[in-house]
């Protein structure tokens, strides 16, 4: 009787904390009142697009990081310290991202940064954090050049402080080609890109592998980042009669393009990378039979992700965890986990930042997306990818596998 009352009170307390945190944007501490937090507060930064057209993905990243921070506080993960989240909006804009990175690095209590979503933003963020020796773990950047530089045949680590929990374009593109050319036997492929780092990288890797598998790239077109009317691009593609279209870009354009293709009488599947893997793709015109690759196995099919999904749903966030939630959760845990080893019961100071980077490099634990470890370039050693197809207006996993090259 007494015990159950205590549990009820505890639950009430947790609920109260939860509400409080949601209202204050997750920056308030909350958590377990019994933890020793005498040494102060440490901060985990997040840089992601929290507003704008990619906000669905960005908020999933922020909320999942928030969840990891709350859990760490509940478990008194870092002895003597409370952990807080400081989320900054980059509006998918490198300039905004650089500003956010500069702002966060002023904070002496900052452990590290989870982010960004866009590779192009990380190109601006990583140098700033690297200069200040602040560790960065991205849940979503897939551009190879962030870890290995421009020349993949002579890879050279770019930023000693940069790590990521997701897989890269040089795997995602070929994985898509294996599926589209190898399994779906599409031999005449049109490529459309949006001119950004992400889309170009993805499409280049896709094309290389597709051609190696015997497919023909019948046409390559580029669209502007803000275009919405694709009739002229489609008219340019049409005479080459492709049987599939590979799109290097994001869902705000991929969705309408898929619909306009069909309207123009070119009813072929559109395939893209994780950038189009979002439910908005369908609401903007993505049609049944379109494909997307995404990093990792489907979050809800993973045994390891079950606890994450349960906790996420219980935490009462307004937005879903989205494509990168589980990666963001793992990234945050990697930073917190490494902080525990680095601080080792002592005091945090900015001198420890270099040790923290070293600890992240050696980090090894089971996360929501599988085993989380990093190779010598900072890339995730997890090379699992999944092809999804649209069926009945929803993304359905079509094939999960490890890319071997």
């Amino acid at each position: 009787m007494k015990a159950s009352a205590l549990v009820a009170a505890g639950a009430l307390l947790l609920t109260a904390c939860g509400t409080n945190k949601t209202e204050s944007g997750g920056t308030a501490g909350g958590g377990n009142a019994n933890c020793d937090t005498s040494k102060g507060t440490l901060v985990v930064g997040v840089i992601a697009p929290l507003s704008g057209e990619l906000s669905a993905l960005g908020l999933g990243i922020k909320n999942s990081a928030d969840l990891a921070v709350r859990e760490a506080n509940d478990k008194c993960a870092v002895p003597g310290y409370k952990i807080a989240l400081d989320a900054q909006d980059d509006q998918k804009n490198p300039q905004q991202g650089a500003q956010a990175a500069t702002k966060l690095s002023q904070d002496d209590n900052l452990l590290g940064v989870v982010g960004t979503l866009n590779s192009s933003v990380s190109l601006a963020v990583a140098p700033i954090l690297s200069q200040n020796k602040i560790v960065q773990v991205s849940p979503a950047n897939t551009s190879d050049s962030l870890t290995k530089g421009e020349d993949l045949n002579a890879p050279k680590r770019q930023f000693p402080t940069y790590f990521r929990t997701c897989t890269v374009d040089s795997l995602q593109g070929p994985f898509a080609a294996d599926f589209l050319v190898g399994e779906q036997s599409k031999k005449k492929i049109a490529i459309v890109t949006d001119g950004l780092t992400y889309g170009e990288g993805l499409a280049a890797e896709f094309a290389k592998k597709a051609e190696a598998l015997g497919a023909q790239i019948v046409t390559r077109q580029k669209i502007g980042e803000k275009d919405t009317d694709f009739s002229s691009v489609i008219a340019a593609i049409k005479p080459s009669a492709p049987d599939a279209l590979y799109f290097g870009g994001q869902y705000p354009q991929a969705g309408p393009m898929s619909k306009q293709l069909k309207d123009a009488g070119l009813d072929i599947p559109v395939m893209g990378g994780d950038g189009i893997f979002d439910d908005k793709f369908m609401s903007l015109g993505g049609k049944d039979g379109d494909y997307a690759t995404s990093v990792g196995a489907p979050t809800d099919s993973l045994e390891s992700a079950k606890t994450f999904i349960e906790a996420y749903n219980k935490a009462g966030f307004q937005d879903g965890y989205s494509a990168y939630g589980a990666f963001s959760y793992d990234a945050t845990n990697a930073i917190i986990g490494a902080a525990v080893t680095t601080i080792n019961g002592g005091e945090w100071s900015t001198d420890k930042r270099e040790d923290l980077v070293a600890s992240v490099a050696k980090y090894n634990a089971q996360g929501a997306t599988g085993a989380i470890t990093f190779d010598e370039f900072g890339d995730s050693t997890n090379k699992v990818l999944t092809v999804y197809s649209v069926s009945g207006g929803e993304w359905v996993p079509a094939k999960t596998g490890t890319y071997e090259g």
């Binding site: 669209i223 002229s232 340019a236 009488g265």
Partner: protein, 305 residues
């Protein structure tokens, strides 16, 4: 050949949308010599006005019938666009009527940002692109080798009809004469019994109504809108107005069709493909301005006494 004709059709459809917006730029400039950079945003707000009507005002039973829902959406788009334009004229531009020309220009840029952000913040979920109802016949029309969507044909028909109507109104009606008089010389027009304030309000109203129609038709054709469509199409429309000779109605519409065609044909046939289609628009603009600074149909600037 098919591709060429198809691209010409696409270019005309694009030109028709731009033309409706360009009329607003050129009219306002003709009357008060203001480049109203916020006019592209009026187009965007009009599109969202139509979306709001469809989402919250139309009973579900009517949503399926385009001949009921489309006119109501257009009315909604026009009402919202006109309201915004009149508020903008009254509170942002009128107080600056006699200020140096740069002041209202900067104000227009500010109003443009305000409108974009207002939609992003206050229109539910508009921080990302919103699906737009296909409130028209969802089919392709085959004209010989060319296939064009019914909604694009509608834009072309509506755009041409409204441009011709506007031209007749300005040249034949009493108010049209007052508008031309105010454009020529505001002070003399006032002496002749024309109330310039009324004429200016009417100019903003007509321009906004056309932009509102364009916004709704654009949304119905493309089937998604976001708060950045005004910027993109506004730049094209402004360029069209300058190319045709800013201040000239005919020039704005013809300039718009030229730009539509350059964009689609340049993307198809010029080196660089669709990646560089914007480049050709501005290359042509520069050439025209070098040889005819007043634009294709513009009058050379008169020195005022």
């Amino acid at each position: 050949m098919t591709t060429l004709l198809q691209q010409i059709a696409n270019g005309i459809a694009l030109g028709a949308t731009i033309g409706l917006i360009a009329l607003g730029y050129t009219m306002v400039y003709g009357i008060i010599q203001l480049i109203n950079f916020a006019h592209g945003e009026v187009f965007m707000v009009g599109a969202f006005g139509g979306l709001a009507v469809h989402r919250w005002l139309l009973p579900e039973a009517w949503q399926g019938d385009w001949y009921i829902s489309l006119p109501l959406m257009i009315v909604g788009g026009v009402v919202v666009a006109v309201t915004i334009a009149l508020i903008m004229e009254r509170f942002a531009y009128r107080p600056l009527r006699n200020a140096p020309r740069l002041a209202p220009l900067i104000t227009a840029l500010g109003v443009s940002i305000v409108l974009q952000e207002a939609i992003r913040i206050w229109f539910p979920n508009a921080e990302s692109a919103q699906a737009y109802p296909k409130a028209f016949i969802d089919a392709q029309v085959d004209l010989g080798p060319v296939s064009i969507s019914a909604s694009k044909l509608l834009i072309i028909v509506v755009s041409v009809a409204l441009s011709v109507g506007l031209q007749l109104y300005v040249t034949k009606s009493r108010m049209g004469r007052a508008m031309r008089a105010t454009a020529q010389d505001r002070d003399t027009a006032r002496l002749m019994g024309v109330n310039p304030d009324r004429v200016i309000v009417l100019t903003f109203l007509i321009g906004a109504a056309l932009a509102g129609v364009a916004g709704v038709l654009y949304g119905v054709d493309i089937t998604n809108v976001d708060n950045a469509i005004g910027f993109q199409n506004g730049i094209f429309a402004f360029t069209a107005a300058v190319l045709g000779g800013i201040g000239s109605l005919r020039g704005a519409v013809i300039g718009a069709f030229i730009i539509g065609l350059i964009k689609t044909l340049g993307g198809q046939y010029m080196p660089g493909g669709t990646q560089y289609d914007y480049v050709w628009i501005f290359v042509v603009l520069i050439f025209v301005l070098v040889f005819r600074p007043q634009g294709l149909f513009g009058e050379a600037e008169r020195v005022r006494a």
